[in-house]
Every structure is written in structure tokens, then in C-alpha cells.
């Protein structure tokens, strides 16, 4: 039976996808700004964050309203509560894109320390994980969500590579490089955190679709 409620859930899904698109664009622009040393692009990411924050509040309000008015059960309840969590993960992802842009603005003012190799690779992993997590949400695809979760180890590996190189090859040898190496270290850290948020979204999707809790290794991933 078609329900009016389905239309409302459809609207919630659209809002979440709008939020996801904005967060993905923020990550992309922050990394492009870093790579091309584009101050205005970095600033644009920072300025756009207000919109994402407002949208987060709207989506939250919508979820609370749906719970209050419809007292959803079972799959509907899992969809809405998962939606609230994904909403908050996306907002945190957008905040991290702002952090990356702020680091980029610092770096643009200084001479280039080294060509960027692993950070762009890490950014591709992060962007793919966020994209796949959102795809898994749209398609209710548990196996894609599990792929996102397993990709997180690649993100950790790349972050460690960046960290080792910047500490051992630069800062340990010449401490004056720290003012440029530390922002790069932080960017790697921000990207790795984005991957963690994508992993959280993937875990939430498994709960949404199957009702299984896999967070904090409480469930079987097989």
C-alpha cells in the first residue's frame, strides 16, 4: 500500500543526498585548492560551510518531526535514525574540508615544501569512500558498504606514509620545515578522519538495511 509517509521519507532522502553532494564538493574543492594553490577556491569552501550547517539543522529537524508525527517502526525507524547519523557525519566531513582549506591557505603563503604525491592519493581514497558510502545508502547496498569499511585500512596506510615522510625526511633533518610540514601532516590527518566518517556511514547503512550493529566490531562482517 502506498503511504503518504513514503513521500516524506523520499523528501528526507533527497535532502540527505543534497547534503552529501555539498560535502563531497567541499572535499574536492579543498584538495584542488591545495594542489593548485588557489586561495579563492579554499576561501569558497570555508564560506560555503554555513549553508551545510544550516542544511544539517534542517535535516535533523525534519527527522525529529517525522518521528514525532508518525512514530515510525522497524525499517522506517531505522531509516530515519540512520538518516540523522549520516547527516551528522556529513556535516563533520564538510567541517574537515574547511580545516583542509584553512591549512591550504596557510601553505599557499609559503614556498612549496615538496611535490604532493601521497596526499592526493589519500584524497582520492577519501572521496571514493564518501562517494561509495552515499551510493550504498541510495541503493541500500550492504556489500558496497562493507567495501567502504575495508577501504579504511588503505587510508590509514597512506596517512602513515605521509606522516613518516614528513617527520623523518623533513622535520627531523631541518626543523625550519615544520611550518610547512605540520599543515601537510594535519591535512593527511583530516583526510584520514574523513575516511573514518565514511566508514561510520557504511556501518550505519548496514544497520539501516539489515538491523545488524557492526560498529565497534560488535557484529560479524562476513
Amino acid at each position: 500500500m502506498e503511504r503518504h509517509f513514503d513521500e516524506e521519507l523520499g523528501n528526507l532522502r533527497k535532502e540527505l543526498l543534497r547534503m552529501a553532494a555539498m560535502a563531497q564538493e567541499a572535499i574536492f574543492n579543498s584538495i584542488e585548492a591545495l594542489k593548485s594553490r588557489d586561495k579563492s577556491r579554499a576561501q569558497e569552501v570555508i564560506d560555503t560551510d554555513d549553508k551545510i550547517d544550516r542544511l544539517e539543522l534542517e535535516v535533523d529537524e525534519k527527522c525529529i518531526d517525522l518521528i514525532a508525527r508518525h512514530q515510525p517502526m522497524a525499517g522506517d525507524l531505522r531509516f530515519i535514525t540512520t538518516g540523522m547519523k549520516i547527516n551528522s557525519e556529513l556535516e563533520r566531513i564538510a567541517d574537515l574540508a574547511v580545516d583542509i582549506s584553512q591549512r591550504a591557505l596557510e601553505l599557499i603563503e609559503k614556498p612549496i615544501l615538496k611535490p604532493l604525491i601521497d596526499i592526493p592519493k589519500l584524497s582520492v581514497v577519501a572521496q571514493n569512500m564518501v562517494r561509495d558510502a552515499i551510493d550504498a545508502f541510495v541503493k541500500r547496498d550492504v556489500s558496497l558498504a562493507k567495501q567502504v569499511m575495508s577501504a579504511d585500512s588503505e587510508a590509514d596506510r597512506l596517512r602513515n606514509l605521509v606522516q613518516d615522510e614528513l617527520i623523518n625526511d623533513y622535520m627531523a633533518k631541518d626543523i625550519s620545515t615544520a611550518s610547512r610540514a605540520v599543515p601537510l601532516l594535519l591535512i593527511a590527518r583530516h583526510l584520514e578522519r574523513i575516511c573514518d566518517h565514511a566508514t561510520n556511514i557504511a556501518e550505519d547503512i548496514i544497520y539501516m538495511v539489515e538491523g545488524k550493529v557492526v560498529k565497534h566490531h560488535t557484529g560479524d562482517l562476513s
Partner: protein, 252 residues
């Protein structure tokens, strides 16, 4: 499960040629609230009524299978129905006090089931009215007619009337459907209090009520017990698609 309060094995029930219950198996835990939910006509009230053999009053009723309460199959032909109905009491949709005083309503069953002195009866009246939180309101009006009470008070009185004969199991057939939201809330609070001492099985049309008050929930569709389990699981991640469709309003 160790010692369920009600154990149902392969229960079938027919009204003439119509099979109202089909192969029901379930173990109702003691001293918890179990809700039975399902669309109108699915057999949920029939299941409730069979627990104290109220269905015997309908014409052409046949049962097979067994229902074990206190080690006894209550479907046996020679089952002691008076003892059964003392042990397993029923509260109905609309409160149905007798056209007697409040006092006489409560002691009515006691007079049938128990040999009791006047002082014992006074004690039972006070105890029963206290249990349903009516004592303070009614202690000075015990000789007034029960028909003058509000709907909620009448429903509480009907519960008190059951408690007076010291049952183990309370069956409630939509006990709040005639009540407003505040009275419903107060009866639900009362049910939470009562489950400390009694096993409660409630049939309700309100999914929200089932979710709020019950520990276990069973979903019946077309005479079949589709799913039975802990309420928090049934309402967040039911196993059966039909349960999901019903509780999310897609059924129909």
C-alpha cells in the same frame, strides 16, 4: 524457556467451518506484559479468549493442540473451568461493572471462589482497590453504585475485581480503547505496576501502545502467529516481511 506462564502447542481453533487459529506455538513468559497485535479479524482476541476458555460460549467452537497453564492442558474436556477462570481473568474493551455497589463488585468473585469472613472481605476490597490505585479516591464511597464511576475508574474497578480472586494471569482485550489518552496512560502505568505480580497478555489495536508497554509481542495474521519475540526487536527489526509491512502501515 523455563516454565512459561502459558505454553501453546500446535493450537488450531475453528468456528464451525472457519479456521480462526492455525497451528499456534508460543511460550508466554511469566510476570511480563505480552502484546498480541494484528489487523481486525486476524484471530488475536480469539487467542486471548481461549486462554480462559471464553470461546466455549460461542457456538460450534472446536480446538486442537494444547495450552499448558500450571502444568495442566486447559483444553482437556474435563478441565476445571471455574478454577481456570479464577486463575486467568479477563478485562474487556468496555468496562463492565455489575449494577452493584463498588464493594459488592469487588467481592462478587471472592464470594464464589473463596470462603471468606466479612473482615477478610474488607481486607480484600482495600487490597484490590489499592492495587489499582483507587483506594484513596473511593474508600469513603464503597457503598455507592459502581455505575456512577468514570470510564477509567470503571476499568480500574474491573481490574480490581479480578485481583480480588488472586489470579496469576490477566487477559486484557483492548482495555484502553474506550479511554481518552490521559486515562490510557494511567491504565498503562497501572499495568506496569501489576506485572510485578501478574502475567499480563493484552490485545491491542495500537502499535504504539504495544511498543510502549509490552516486553514481548506476537503478530497474528489470518489466524497464523507470524512472529513472536521481544518487543524491542519486533518494532525495530522484525524477521518477517509481513510483520514489517503491518507495523509500518503498509499492510492492506
Amino acid at each position: 524457556m523455563d516454565n512459561p506462564a502459558i505454553l501453546v502447542n500446535g493450537l488450531n481453533l475453528w468456528y464451525g467451518g472457519f479456521q480462526a487459529l492455525k497451528g499456534i506455538n508460543a511460550a508466554f513468559r511469566g510476570k511480563v506484559i505480552t502484546s498480541i497485535i494484528g489487523p481486525s479479524g486476524c484471530g488475536k482476541s480469539t487467542l486471548l479468549r481461549v486462554f480462559n476458555r471464553m470461546n466455549d460460549l460461542a457456538e460450534g467452537v472446536r480446538c486442537s493442540g494444547e495450552i499448558i497453564i500450571d502444568g495442566v492442558n486447559i483444553l482437556e474436556k474435563d478441565a476445571d473451568l471455574v478454577a481456570l477462570r479464577k486463575k486467568v481473568g479477563m478485562v474487556f474493551q468496555r468496562p463492565n461493572p455489575f449494577p452493584l455497589s463498588i464493594y459488592e463488585n469487588i467481592v462478587f468473585g471472592t464470594r464464589i471462589h473463596l470462603e471468606a469472613k466479612k473482615s477478610d472481605l474488607d481486607c480484600i476490597v482495600e487490597h484490590s482497590l489499592r492495587a489499582v490505585l483507587l483506594w484513596d479516591e473511593l474508600k469513603d464511597k464503597l457503598n455507592r453504585s459502581a455505575l456512577g464511576l468514570s470510564l477509567e475508574q470503571k476499568q480500574r474497578l474491573c481490574i480490581a475485581r479480578l485481583l480480588a480472586v488472586k489470579p496469576d494471569i490477566l487477559l486484557m482485550d483492548e482495555p484502553c480503547s474506550a479511554l481518552d489518552p490521559q486515562a490510557t496512560q494511567r491504565i498503562e502505568e497501572l499495568m506496569r505496576e501489576l506485572k510485578r505480580d501478574y502475567t499480563i497478555v493484552i490485545v491491542t489495536h495500537s502499535m504504539q501502545q504495544a511498543a510502549r508497554i509490552s516486553d514481548d509481542t506476537g503478530f497474528i495474521l489470518l489466524g497464523e502467529l507470524v512472529e513472536f519475540g521481544r518487543t524491542e526487536r519486533i518494532f525495530t527489526k522484525p524477521d518477517d516481511r509481513r510483520t514489517e509491512d503491518y507495523i509500518t502501515g503498509r499492510y492492506g
